[in-house]
Symmetry: C2
Subunit: 584 residues, 2 copies
């Protein structure tokens, strides 16, 4: 049966050794008083909530789904109670500023919290998943009165936000949206139009819902330069219900406990956030946060897949394996975890979930540095690097989440395909993350076209420097020397690819579009190589008899052994992409 245990031990390893986060916290006045024991205590609490409250609702929420009637959307049994417990625990406020009622903790800890929420119950966590993004968006772009009125509700969890972009004809192409906003004499706007696929557009978790809506002002330019952002509450302060209604929810392959709503805005009152026609820029603050969160969904699914596959593979016995661990006698049948094909898949599950964790937390840590580093010179590079890495986190992590869920399902054999064991739910739930918040193809274009080629290599140079720095340190420990060499070589390949693509795209402007997907995958694999080179190196800090130390070295060995296979694949595909691509 499906189960989930918060991976606190590995989280500690990442915080303490991989990131050396406590050192950064000590340097930063913003995190005064925060140390490792306190951080671990927070994560332990979050783990308890995820394991104890959310995980038990994962399967039942999937079976029950949401129910829609003309006047309300009901979430699965237990979801509202779990939300109250979440609010009572102060979790929405975790990484919000203390001045606004938040706890002022790093986004790094929020990332760990989010991983646990998504791993234990992706559908439930959809309701809370964009809280931090909405908070940042409003805090950065909202008028003071709007902040004063609504930020406390977001921080306290009294109201939940939504992100209203998609319309039936405008998905990836937000520039095609038609929703209109008509200015009123009191400074507010009346919104008209239809929004589709709005997660948490209606539900029974909170009394109020705060819709962040993209719409066009009268006479606005067409395309994406004529879009403005509005805050449209479900409940107005006059006590009136606003002119927004949910006219249906989607029946979906997965995340069935998340209400995916069609919303109709019929003269709904709202207020502008940020400048007119600059709505996308304001929304991007939210989307960047949301993309990191979606990446953490991939991590959560990979972790849940790994845990469940490991457990099943240790218990299920089928056939004798060609080899068994030393000192284990043969029985009628061995645990399937002894069989080479299973060992390989289990090691892939472990190296992927632990590797993604290090990288995902690193990006969150960069966001903390971008905001709070005591050295103002260090802030901008941290921000640039986080921006560069965001599309990789979104696309690579989510693809891995799906792949590892499928790998885990395969470990279960026929039992994996039946709903009783629920690993099939992990597969179904994980698939959406490759699509929403900018499809993975959109992320690939964003990475290569905008953030690497469009930036003259500045942010990309920062990444290369990080990789080279790690590669330069690995030689200190003989067990890690090979990993460092491999990372250095990979770093060189990646730099060469970018040079080639830049040069070739002068004459063949479509070339980068054709290879963007493989480039992103190559970057993802490179980040995992960074994760494992550093994990192996810093595992020296662990006591020699700590099994985690052996495990990290073993995982790095496995990862680097199969690294050339993944690198060769994407390099050859980027080469193949030079040829023109037919229209079908």
């Amino acid at each position: 049966m499906w189960s989930y245990q918060a991976p606190l031990r590995d989280m500690q390893f990442v915080l303490e050794h991989w990131l050396d986060a406590p050192r950064a916290w000590r340097r930063s006045p913003a995190f005064e008083g925060l140390d490792l024991p306190l951080a671990l205590q927070v994560l332990e609490e979050a783990g308890r909530f995820s394991q104890g409250v959310l995980a038990p609702l994962n399967g039942s929420g999937d079976r029950q789904g949401c129910r829609w009637t003309a006047d309300r959307v009901s979430t699965p049994d237990g979801f509202a109670d779990a939300y109250r417990a979440y609010v009572d625990g102060g979790w929405p406020a975790l990484a919000c500023a203390e001045a606004l009622g938040g706890q002022g903790l790093p986004q790094l800890l929020d990332a760990a919290l989010q991983e646990m929420l998504y791993a234990s119950n992706h559908a439930w966590a959809m309701y809370t998943g964009i809280v931090h993004g909405a908070y940042l968006c409003l805090k950065t772009h909202g008028a003071p009165w709007l902040q004063e009125r609504y930020l406390p509700d977001i921080v306290s969890g009294q109201a939940l936000p939504t992100m209203c972009l998609t319309e039936p004809q405008a998905g990836s192409d937000v520039g095609l949206l038609r929703c209109r906003a008509a200015p009123q004499n009191d400074g507010s706007y009346h919104l008209h139009g239809n929004k589709l696929f709005i997660s948490g557009g209606e539900h029974d978790l909170t009394g109020n819902i705060l819709h962040l809506v993209l719409a066009r002002l009268p006479g606005a330019p067409s395309g994406s330069r004529g879009i403005s952002l509005f805050l449209v509450p479900k409940q107005l302060d006059t006590g009136q219900v606003n002119g927004v209604r949910c006219d249906g929810i989607e029946h979906k392959m997965g995340i069935k406990g998340s209400a995916t709503c069609s919303l109709v805005f019929e003269g709904a009152q709202g207020w502008l956030i940020g400048e007119a026609n600059r709505g996308l820029a304001a929304m991007f603050v939210m989307m960047n946060s949301a993309r990191l969160h979606v990446g953490l969904q991939g991590l959560g699914h990979a972790e849940a897949a790994w845990q469940n596959a490991r457990e099943y593979a240790a218990e299920r016995r089928q056939m004798r394996a060609p080899l068994r661990p030393e000192g284990i006698a043969a029985q009628a049948a061995d645990p399937i975890s002894y069989h080479p094909a299973m060992r390989r898949v289990l090691l892939e599950l472990r190296t992927t979930s632990e590797g993604l964790r290090a990288i995902g937390y690193w990006v969150a840590h960069l966001l903390d540095q971008a905001e709070h580093d005591p050295d103002p010179q260090a802030r901008q590079p941290a921000e640039q690097l986080a921006q560069l890495l965001t599309p990789i986190i979104k696309a690579f992590f989510t693809e891995q989440g799906f792949r590892q869920a499928s790998n885990a399902l395969q470990v279960f054999g026929g039992y994996g395909y039946v709903t009783e064991f629920a690993i099939e739910q992990t597969l179904r739930d994980s698939r959406i993350a490759m699509i929403y918040e900018g499809s993975n193809e959109i992320q690939a274009n964003d990475l290569l076209l905008r953030k690497v080629l469009g930036d003259e290599g500045r942010a990309f140079g920062l990444l290369l420097a990080q990789l080279r720095d790690e590669a330069g340190q690995g030689g200190e420990w003989v067990e890690c020397a090979g990993f460092a060499v491999a990372l250095g070589k990979l770093c060189g390949s990646l730099a060469a690819v970018v040079d080639d693509v830049r040069e070739l795209s002068q004459e063949d402007s479509e070339y980068p579009y054709r290879v963007a997907g493989d480039f992103l995958q190559l970057c993802g694999v490179t980040l995992l190589a960074l994760a494992w080179a550093r994990a192996a190196r810093v595992s020296r800090a662990l006591p020699e008899d700590d099994p985690l130390r052996a495990s990290k070295l073993q995982s790095a060995g496995f990862f680097f052994n199969y690294l050339p296979s993944r690198v060769a694949q994407h390099l050859a595909a980027i080469e193949g992409g030079r040829a023109a691509l037919a229209f079908v």
Copy 2:
């Protein structure tokens, strides 16, 4: 919305040009009177049935699923009527011997029929999918009276067979099964035990169900050498209901219209098929047929995925593409099929589904040759080659079916995730095929350990000869010369891999187990290379203005352009497999 059209044009291409099947039919007395027009007429009829009867039940069958009560299992509405239409059309008899009431048509045509059934309604086709395997098993191993009594019911479709292997503790490891058979004085046996995951173990399509059951005789050796095969009908000729009952059906991720049953045998009367303790050998006749069929499920899903993705991508407009086809003017947004990432995925969908078709039909054609080739010397190599290719068909095709379903879902974006568009059903349905009928990991071991290394390279040599033969012919046409060279090179790599693995496994007996999965993938990619090298070459036979000719060359160009990427990946992984693999 999901739709399916039988790909008759491409089927004709494979039959007529890729296989040159009519020439083989003319040479074979067994297929006297069969020519291309007749074959195409049969396929057209089969297409009409699949499109018109089965496809409309695909979505409704998924939504409704099967219902279990203690005394019956009900299939979704329309399934029983569709089965009657199938029987009335004489489809169960298609490739059965005329002497037994069959139509005596080649298995090649049956493969095309099966592709269409699986593509249009995988769940429904589960009921009929093992008919031909059961027919072969009984015809090869059954006692004369048993054949006389039951073969006509199978050929006519009056009774449907099942394949009862799995027990809760015995999945991949059939040697662990415990079901018992007690001999009776009348020469029959009474069976006792539990079987799990039995497709069509109970249903309302036919009055009688013929269970082919693996069980142990008293005093039989333990393990797989003590297993015997029995025929256990649901209805006895005495008019009594036999002691088999279905005590539950599985709730599954997909193929929900297929009843996956737990069966309890409580003194059920049955008769031995073949020799005592030699049940696995008898069952293997059935399993080989079933494995080819499961491969055809992968092909069917890839084809359905391709068709639906193509249609949606041509209609859906989002953003301007960097390039558009000549003569097409820019609009506010282009069809997404113009975008490079989508073009690449659409070409992958097309080259995969058409490539798998050529290879899948080739294996069916080899089975026909093995049975009916007028030159007795040609029969054994055809049989050997078909045996060698079977695990590749099963595992590679099903993995591609799932991958292409996921690719197609991605083309649909958010719409792909909602049930309304049903491409998500293709993804869910396709996933089982990687598991059942011997998991893909079992297939990989069967291929490398048993069929390549265990056979001293005899069958594998036949495959290499086929590859070299094609590579030697490609140079005749300048457009294909490069494809032939690439195929020849790949053939050399494959041969070298086998030599290496054979040599290394002398000292490291686990090595082949560690790389079996990548070896199977490499073989699959090689077969696709064969498919496309030959398709390009024989497309010359098409009229110059036939769009299919241009399409085949274009597809081959795409395939060979990305071939090095796939080959490099698996070769490097086979290399990486030399290192020991930790126990997790």
